[in-house]
Assembly symmetry: C2
Homo-oligomer: 772 residues x 2
């Protein structure tokens, strides 16, 4: 009881202090369970550095600067460096300020800072030859990564580097040896998914002996991206300079000035700067780097507002407090301590993004390259929507309702400012990068409307969804509307598109129904059935159809490549009708046959050749032919709930939880995809999952905790209890909601949000009649 | 009397309507004397297109797109294209919106628009092969250039092109033949002083079927320059597209969209766009192009505010009215109609720049790349100060007092926003391009302070001057302060620098004296004598001195190259002590010797080899060894006034006026230098000249008019009359100011501004005792 009351205080504070984490109160230090190194090996694509929840700054070590392309050709090694850091690497190049978490393509890595001593070197060197550049060797024994704080010893220089952050400011603390040749390097050329020519322009002003400002402008995944910054040093530098820029044809300086040393204005495509210091043994020099999407003035103001002073420990503590405030939204009892590590690290990863994208005064850069003022909401960016619409945004509707509304507001201004008048597909830093398929913003919006977490203009939001879904020139939509499927000969990955459009259209229909917009409901509920048009009943799989109405010949349902799908094969993708599993099951031969079909998916062997060139799918993420390491099948285990064999969902889910989410740097089985993988873990550990966002229903699975309480912003607490829980007792004997037996394997969003208790009675044997 | 009253109305209107030219009143159509083609042949570097006084938009035909460099090497041909238009050329590439007038280096040429019919071609073609590109042949018979309006027939397409402008918006009227293949091209790659890689980024949004927005970002003379625009068509285009961009390594589109046709968002380094129309015979399509230094929103607002509709004739008439308002500030009687053409064209050229650099709402881009609000002044850019401090800004103190104050305010915010905390040297578009030497902003500021045209914080302005003059790392100033001259072995063109710094320092001292800042006066009046330290009494010339105190050996006083001077030889530059001619004359051997020395300058022969590689000096601009076509000697003819032979000034001045300023496209003898050459003409034609800005004195010469009246903004009229004027009567028999005989060849600024009458009595014979 005291705990419930206590959580109400947090909830209220959270509502009042949207995006500002300065409410001091007693809470459990759950941050101790967060291990940011989980997912940094293999293909998790997470980063280990310092950040606060949804922070604009992700200050993290980069262990190499692999180019995206060499001589104009894609370099496959770059994929390992989506987050800048690869656990197996032996050197750290430096600490940059922006990172995506878990993405399958990348960008960012802005404003790399590196302290060195000795002879100045302004190139990063190579992993093979670290001594040829400014990078340093390091070891994991001398490394510490926690929520909001990262530390490492840079062996080559005997410098201890520590990092922390506020929302918009990264703070570095470098403890130097005694030296008359101490340097801090700022490399504006370095970046993630870099290549020669990615930098469009870089610009720096040395405002005084300890403050600089500038920007980095790039053209990469985001085609037109600009990051402004202000950087302050706790100690005045004694001198500074830049690496000589490549000869530019005309500059106007005429050689009259030495631009390379102590000249306070620098510009060019690839600035690399150094700042020199004398240091005493053990002397710490702190650095603050504030970012802004708007201007250097904005960056200076962000710095002044968020971290006015130089107290590293205080900033570090505030960052940890901010994490604890978020992490305390779930309190949990589990059988194993390691499950707490997995759970709180999953929460940590889930709360890394989308990230705040506006100055403290509410100004932000829009897609139209104009500066806008966020009125009454916090603007967010980095929407990896093909991933995150599935479970992450639904999770936010439970645990981050205000932020989710702000994210939707951010999508709506994106739509207003987009010259396409489309909601975001995959957007970051005021750019649409068009990555992946579908228009899943509509799912996020519909889910919020249907669940009543929608303090925005819902009709305008629905209009934005409709306008997006009617954009004929976008990725086969014109044909989809006219022919009721996307023809493979007109637009590749046509089956994936048809299936995902159909789901998205259903989501639009749900929102329209809630808002009483009958015509829109009729149009889109009709469109939501178009998945049927790419089902080949003869073979029992979804299959690409051509413009002439015939199915593609030479079809292989196992192959990920060239079969009309994207990042998945037909075995997995044919199950992608999350909004109407019952009809799909009917179409595929009924419940019994479908249940066996699912069994096959989880047990058959998928040879490597079928996916080995698909970056987002790896052996680690696969069970049989079921691909958990990538998103399209995330709802599949729960589909047993629509058969008479719900118990099969239970053991599959527990198997996935156990196999695919582990502690340790190699614990993640695939890209975390900006929190989607983690959101799956959280929901599934708690025993329920949003199979079709846009529906108020959650499908029940098999909780992996003993007891967990969700401390909701509305002051309610929803507790899940799993009686008789063990590693073997993965089957549900019965479930009660507030003491009332559940006859169907579903609960609703309201039932969660109203608070109460969901009690699972666990068993080592399946209860085959549980929901039948 | 009625005329005086009438002029008062203009003056008041002008004071009230700073920068806004919408006051309707009866005035003489003096614009009919303006010939914008003067200076477009040879090296005048003027442009013939449409602009309003001090307008942000200079919409003018470009006759070629010569690259600044080919394979990284300077291309000398580019110098002919500083203003984009070369009279002798046979083709027009298109009409771009920004041009410098008369400069000796260049930039701009932004947003080139060209109408065509027939098969679409998106490259400009070549002069030799115009049919291979979108350019068109034209002839001067079918061309018309007037103040605020330009028209030409594009022969290859039978399109009549007409141009006019408001301050921030260019307006085009294209009258097409009947065609189903009419195009309007927008080339964002084209530019003046272009080269591969000069474009940093270009960005375009097609907002609707008749409006686009975007920007062009370049790195040229201005290292970090961005021009935002909004462009509207009077008729919806039926389709549009872009030239395929060079392959970029990563774009995110994955080939899923056709970005090249009817895709409303385009970005890349070198966008070239087309818009397609069907046209009837004689159908006119109008285009409006609004510029902004701030944003596309700013550009749209500028368009909406300045030219909301589509009435080309009305905009054209307003532009002409704006010119007439300015031109009517001088009314004149001359012996020859052609002198009126020269005089009003000189006024036109003098009033082309500096140009307004802010949106209608007062927002502008600062040197710090932040957006600022101009509070209480109009922000200007394009300060070619090494040229314009001499006579143009002094002219503004007489005829454009409010604008000159605003220009100084613009210099002061430049200084505030400059990371160097220096006043502008040569600045344009929120960039310091560092062109040429000295820090002549201080002259402009001191001149305004000393003359009492200084409604700004004069002490802060003086502080800015002092700070600038103490910037040790700038171009030899540290050595200049320490050694009292710039040593040639440390900083080239050391004599020119020493001389110009000394003059500038004197100007600072004058302002300090006026403001009672004794310490500053003492410091800078002392520095103003440093010119003496580079005078070699043994040879009677200024001569470069080395760090060890010895003069450079192997010295040639005639040679422009490598002798310690810039754009001038020692013969000319040794006379550059405008602030203390008397001391210079003493130093050079006294009045008689000096007078003969000057005679030699005007009569000796300067062989080509001494200047043939100096772009800013050409045979046309030379009389003997006196170089009028470039600035350093502009005061020299007036130096006779400090000898006993003032009459020699009179015939020299009349000779220069007659020889070096003529009607016709080849009428200018050198770069007009943003109005400096024209300002010399105007002052000298009126019979007085500001030898040393920062002094209130004007030196009297020999007026070339019969009668001229200056209608001043303060309501006063100052009239110059030349009795018995003729081509032969170039000598002054006597001069009276308001009927009182002048005993010295000087009048003061107050005497001009108070109004009154200066009467010259002319004669064919010199009066050798006139002022003695």
């Amino acid at each position: 009881m005291t705990q419930i009351k206590f959580k109400k205080i947090i909830a209220t504070a959270s509502l009042l202090a949207v995006g500002v984490f300065n409410v001091a109160y007693a809470q459990e230090d759950l941050a101790r369970y967060v291990d940011p190194l989980i997912g940094t090996a293999k293909m998790g694509h997470t980063y280990p550095g310092a950040t606060v929840p949804f922070g604009s700054v992700q200050l993290s070590p980069d262990t190499d600067t692999i180019p995206y392309a060499v001589n104009g050709r894609y370099n496959p090694d770059v994929y390992k460096y989506c987050a800048g850091y690869k656990y197996d690497d032996k050197t750290i190049v430096g600490f940059s300020h922006t990172h995506f978490s878990g993405t399958g393509h990348s960008d960012l890595g802005d404003l790399l800072v590196m302290p060195t001593v000795g002879t100045l070197q302004l190139n990063p060197g190579t992993a093979a030859n670290p001594d040829m550049g400014y990078r340093s060797r390091f070891s994991h024994e001398e490394e510490k990564a926690t929520a909001g704080y990262y530390a490492v010893n840079l062996k080559d220089y005997n410098i201890k580097a520590e990092l922390t952050a506020s929302t918009r400011v990264g703070m570095h603390k470098y403890t130097f040896p005694k030296s008359t040749e101490a340097h801090i390097i700022l490399d504006l050329k370095a970046g993630i998914y870099n290549y020669d020519g990615k930098n469009v322009w870089t610009f720096v002003r040395v405002e005084n002996d300890s403050t600089i400002t500038g920007y980095r402008q790039t053209s990469g995944w985001a085609r037109t991206r600009k990051v402004y910054f202000a950087m302050s040093f706790s100690k005045a530098f004694k001198s500074y300079g830049q690496e000589k820029q490549k000869d530019q044809v005309y500059r106007g300086f005429w050689g009259r000035f030495d631009q390379n040393h102590n000249f306070p204005e620098m510009a060019g495509k690839d600035l690399r700067l150094y700042f020199d210091f004398d240091t005493e043994e053990g002397e710490a020099i702190n650095v603050k780097m504030a970012l802004s999407p708007v201007s250097t003035d904005g960056a200076l103001n962000n710095m002044k507002t968020e971290i006015p002073g130089w107290d590293f420990e205080s900033v570090k503590q505030k960052a940890r407090d901010a994490w604890n405030q978020e992490l305390n939204k779930i309190t949990v009892e589990t059988l194993k301590e390691s499950d707490k590590v997995n759970l709180y690290t999953a929460m940590y990863h889930a709360f890394l993004g989308p990230t705040v994208y506006m100055d403290v005064d509410g100004k932000y850069m829009g897609l139209d390259r104009n500066i806008h003022q966020a009125e009454g909401f916090t603007n967010y960016t980095s929407f990896s929507l093909w991933d995150t619409y599935r479970a992450l945004h639904p999770l936010f509707n439970v645990l981050q309702p205000q932020r989710n509304q702000d994210m939707i507001q951010s999508m709506l201004v994106h739509q207003e400012q987009s010259v396409h008048h489309m909601l975001p597909i995959w957007s970051h830093y005021a750019n649409e990068n068009w990555c992946m398929i579908g228009y899943h913003s509509v799912s996020v919006i519909a889910d919020a409307i249907v669940k009543g977490n929608a303090d925005f203009d819902q009709n305008a939001a629905l209009d934005a969804c409709v306008q997006t879904a009617r954009t004929r020139y976008f990725d086969g939509i014109g044909d989809y509307i006219d022919m009721q499927y996307v023809p493979e000969d007109k637009s590749g990955a046509s089956v994936s598109k048809t299936l995902e459009y159909a789901y998205d259209d259903w989501a639009i229909a749900q929102a329209a129904q809630k808002l009483g917009r009958q015509e829109i409901y009729d149009e889109f509920i009709e469109r939501s059935t178009y998945y049927k048009n790419v089902y080949d009943a003869k073979i029992g799989f979804m299959r690409p159809k051509l413009s002439d109405g015939t199915f593609k010949k030479d079809f292989d349902a196992l192959n990920t490549h060239g079969q009309g799908f994207i990042e998945g094969n037909s075995w997995n993708y044919s199950l992608y009708v999350p909004h109407d599993p019952a009809s799909l099951i009917d179409m595929m031969g009924g419940k019994e046959k479908f249940s066996i079909h699912l069994d096959s998916l989880f047990t058959m062997h998928l040879p490597d050749k079928y996916f080995e060139n698909t970056e987002d799918i790896s052996r680690e993420g696969i069970i049989g032919n079921y691909v958990h390491g990538n998103e399209p099948s995330h709802h599949v285990a729960y589909m047993y709930n629509w058969t008479n064999d719900a118990y099969k969902a239970q053991d599959k889910i527990r198997m996935i939880l156990k196999d695919k989410y582990q502690t340790g740097n190699d614990g993640l089985s695939g890209n975390d995809d900006f929190g989607q993988m983690s959101a799956w873990y959280l929901f599934s550990s708690l025993g329920f999952y949003p199979v079709a966002p846009g529906s108020v229903d959650y499908a029940l699975g098999s909780p992996a905790i003993e007891e967990a309480s969700l401390h909701l912003d509305n002051g309610n607490t929803f507790t899940v209890e799993a009686k008789n829980q063990s590693d073997k007792n993965v089957y549900v004997r019965k479930v009660e909601l507030n003491g009332v037996l559940l006859k169907k394997p579903f609960i609703t969003h309201d039932q969660v949000m109203n608070g109460g208790k969901l009690t699972f009675y666990m068993s080592s044997k399946p209860n085959k009649n549980l929901y039948n």
